[in-house]
Each structure stands twice: as C-alpha cells, then as structure tokens.
C-alpha cells in the first residue's frame, strides 16, 4: 500500500507538460465538478484522425495535475482510436503508481480526453450528415 506520492508523480506535478488553453481547438472535453475538487478540461487539435496537439487545464490536487500532464504525453500523436484505448490505470502505471485514495477521484483526465474525442466524433458525424 502506498500512502504518499512517489518521485515521478511529484516531478510531473512540478513540471507539468501541455498545461493551459488553446486557440481554436478542434475539440474540448470537461469532467469533474467543483464540489469534489477536481476539474479537467482537455483541448485537442486533430488532423487526419491523429492528435496533433493537446492541452489541459486542471483544477485539482497534485495527482490531478500529474495525471493530466502524463495523459497529454500519452495521447499526443495517437490516433483517436488509440487514444480512446487509454485508461486511468495506464496513466497511473506510467507515473509509477498513485496513493490508493487518489486513484479514482483525481485521475480523471483520461475521461476528459475521451469526452473531447466523443465530442469531436459527434460533431464530425453531424458535419458529414449536413454536408452530405
């Protein structure tokens, strides 16, 4: 059992990658709510079914920020289908593990990513329909 953050988590928290907003994203996805204390919003640039750029804005604890950052690194360059296969556990594993109580509440960024992709695919399908 692990009670504390490991070095890798702290490192990712200290120097998070791809944090912030994005001008004219192709898609956005948000999860969480202020009450529980973790909110992540993901922005994507998608080109030819591939994630060309990704940014995340995170309100949350050390784990929330570290997992957000790690998620962006894992997602960048992947196809949408590959990105949809990413899981919380994969993010946690890449970080060398998370304290038990942080696994479920703060490790939500993958969900935000999936939401963004869903939003993109819905919009895209709608577009296809209308231009059809």
């Amino acid at each position: 059992m692990m009670d504390d953050y490991n070095e890798k988590v702290i490192d990712n928290f200290r120097n998070p990658k791809n944090m912030g907003s994005m001008d004219n994203p192709d898609a956005e996805g948000e999860v969480g709510n202020p009450t529980c204390g973790d909110i992540m919003k993901v922005f994507l640039k998608i080109d030819n079914n591939i994630i060309k750029d990704i940014k995340v804005k995170t309100f949350g604890c050390v784990a929330a920020i570290a997992t957000s950052s790690k998620m962006t690194e894992l997602a960048l360059g992947k196809t949408l289908e590959e990105a949809k296969d990413l899981t919380r556990d994969m993010v946690a594993k890449e970080l060398g593990g998370l304290p038990a109580q942080k696994m479920h509440c703060s490790n939500l960024s993958v969900e935000a990513l999936h939401k963004a992709i869903d939003n993109y695919q819905k919009k895209h399908m709608t577009k296809e329909h209308t231009t059809d």
């Binding site: 944090m19 202020p34 204390g37 973790d38 309100f59 920020i65 509440c105």
Partner: protein
C-alpha cells in the same frame, strides 16, 4: 529560508523546553508512585508542573489531570461525563465545527444511546447562543463547545456559553487545545467544568496533554489500572513530558500574542493587497492571534501547499484532497463556504518563533505560484 507556518498542526519544541526535560530522562527518572527518593523527586517534579498548569487557569492543583494529549483529554471529558451521568439524561450538545476528537467521541456515544445536537455556525464560525438555549432539554447533561477553532481561529464567547450552561445546571466542557496560552480562561470567573489542552501546540513535547476538571464534576475513568492522577487516569506518569509541558506554559508571555497579532495582520493584508480573488475565512476580530485562513479562488489547496513546500514553506489546507475522506473541511462547509472555495483554502498558523521576514518571504513566494496555478485552472 525554511518557514514553518503550520503551528496549528504542531509546534517546534522550544529548545528551553527540551533542555529542561533532559534531566528527567537520565537523572530524575523514578516512578512518581515509588516510595524511595528516586520516586519522591519525580513526584515533586510532577507536583510542581501540575501547579504551573493549575495556576494558568487560576485553579486548584487537584483539578488538573495529565493525559497523553488533546485527543485523550477530549475523549476523557466527553465520554467520562456522559457515562457518569447516563442515568440523569442522554442528551449532549456540541457544534458542527469541533475537532474530530470531539465529534467522533460524540459519534461513538451515539452508538451507546446518547442523542447529540450539532449546533450550526454562522459565516464566521460563531455559534448562535439562542440556538444553544433552545437546544437544551431536561435530558441535556453536557455541552461541549470548543474555545477557538483549529481551522479558522474563531474564538467562541465561552463566558456566555458557560453562563447558559450554569443557569441550566449542565456541565460545560471546552476544547481549548488551540487557544491555550493565547486566550486566558480564569476558572474562578468563567463558569466552565472541563478544559482540554495539549502540550505540542504550545512548544511543549508531543504526547502530553491535560484536562482541567472542576472539583466535584462526575467523571467515569476511560483507562483503568493504577490509581494515578487522583484515580482519574491510570498509567505511569510521563514526567519528562509533563515537566516539558509545564515549562512551555511558563515560557509563554502576553508579548508573544501581540507579536503574533502583528504578523497575522501583516500576512492577511499582504496577501489581500498583492493577490486578487482571495478571501479570509473566519472573522477578523475574535480570532486567534496565530491563525490565518485564506481561500485562493480557482485553485486547489493541496497543489498550492505542495508548491509552497518546494519553496520550504509549510502550511496546511482544508481541501478534500488532503483528507483521507476526500471531503473538504467540515468546518468551512459548516460556515457555508462553497466547496470550490473550501478546496482552495490554505491555513497559515504562526508562532512566537515566526519572523516578519518569513511573512514577507511567504507573501512574495505565494504570488507567482498562485498565478501559475490559476493559469492552468479551468475555473479562472
């Protein structure tokens, strides 16, 4: 610069305190119950320490019981009185902002058949004296309300609370763990029956506390064994710890309070001047000299805390993320503070060792961290 601003959690043992204790490890090491001279010397040290604590309450020596800390004092007071008076009534009044040692003692008494009323508090964490009065029934045997709150420093009007209890012939316990040596309680003037205090909050060693028990207060023992501590609390007395506790009381002066009040104002004003969207949680007046609790909007407390830690500034937070229960501070919620603001709360608790330079450094360090975290926040 290492800046310790978590004195509400625990304090550095004053070097003068640990120096005083040294002798009681290797020289005066007898058991205070022993008949020989080693025991007598230990007993003398115990008696003198008890007198120092008793004097601080203008009380009798026999009204002071040493315990292992604030938690034990709270448990002993609350369960001890409740169990002693269970044939008289089964109703206890407390508040929503008590320390877990009080709240969970009450919860555990609920399982034994007691009924507990948890008083509300206003936006500054003050209880409502009318609600207190209205909550009293013929079954009420105990009121337990803290003197000063550990998270937001609110000082309750215990004189008036005590008077209401006295008028209704109800025992009044107050958890004064945070206020002790900072706000006086003269037991000859304030009607209070039990007071919990703890050494490690006032630059004494950890693992020692005390309970003031007014003469004649009915109390059932919590820990059985020998007849130590006037047969109220069993266990070989922790002489070195008790001597250290008393020394820490001796060392505290009114000047320390003035100093802390100045530093408190400096920190509150400094933050509010240099960082927008910050809110002081709790009152500006009737607040502990050592407590500053501020919500930094749009960011979460644990992250802020960890960034400050990297700059060697130690603080605490009321954010859910820092608690195992994953709920924000019950105190802030009871005050009606919105969860997202509770998440962004940071508690700075100063001490007599805190300096003006440390406060300056803290304010200067906070600003860029808050900006950085806000820049990545979806709320801003």
């Amino acid at each position: 610069m290492k800046v310790y601003l978590d004195n509400g959690a625990t304090t550095m043992t004053d070097p003068q305190v640990s120096d005083t204790m040294a002798k009681y490890f290797t020289e005066v090491y007898g058991n205070a119950s022993s008949l020989h001279s080693f025991g007598k010397s230990a007993k003398e040290a115990l008696d003198i320490s008890r007198r120092i604590i008793a004097d601080s309450f203008n009380a009798d020596s026999r009204e002071i019981i040493f315990t292992s800390g604030g938690t034990e004092s709270d448990n002993l007071a609350i369960k001890g009185v409740a169990r002693a008076l269970k044939d008289k009534g089964n109703h206890i009044i407390t508040s929503k902002i008590e320390h877990p040692a009080v709240l969970n003692s009450c919860k555990s008494l609920e399982k034994e058949g007691f009924r507990i009323t948890y008083l509300d508090v206003d936006e500054n964490a003050f209880i409502d004296l009318n609600q207190l009065k209205e909550s009293i029934t013929a079954e009420t045997i105990l009121v337990t309300l803290m003197h000063a709150n550990n998270e937001v420093g609110t000082i309750q009007p215990i004189r008036r609370i005590g008077q209401i209890c006295k008028d209704n012939n109800i025992i009044f316990h107050t958890d004064a763990v945070q206020s002790y040596t900072k706000v006086d309680i003269d037991t000859k003037k304030i009607p209070v029956d039990l007071i919990s205090i703890s050494s490690h909050k006032i630059h004494g060693p950890k693992g020692v506390g005390a309970l003031y028990i007014k003469k004649g207060t009915p109390l059932t023992k919590l820990s059985d064994g020998g007849s130590h501590e006037f047969d109220v609390r069993a266990g070989t007395e922790n002489i070195s710890g008790i001597v250290g506790f008393a020394k820490s009381v001796d060392l505290s002066t009114p000047e320390h309070i003035k100093l802390q009040n100045r530093l408190k104002d400096q920190l509150i004003d400094g933050i509010q001047r240099s960082i927008p969207d910050t809110v002081l949680n709790g009152p500006r007046d009737n607040r502990l000299c050592s407590n500053i609790n501020i919500s930094f909007r749009y960011i979460e407390g644990e992250s802020l805390l960890m960034h400050l830690d990297m700059k060697e500034i130690a603080v605490s937070t009321g954010s859910a993320c820092s608690s195992k229960k994953l709920e924000p501070s019950h105190v802030l919620l009871a005050m009606g503070i919105r969860p997202e603001h509770a998440h962004g709360s940071i508690r700075f608790t100063i001490s007599r060792f805190t300096t003006k330079e440390e406060i300056d450094y803290t304010i200067d360090t906070l600003k860029p961290i808050v900006e950085k975290l806000r820049a990545i926040s979806p709320l801003k």
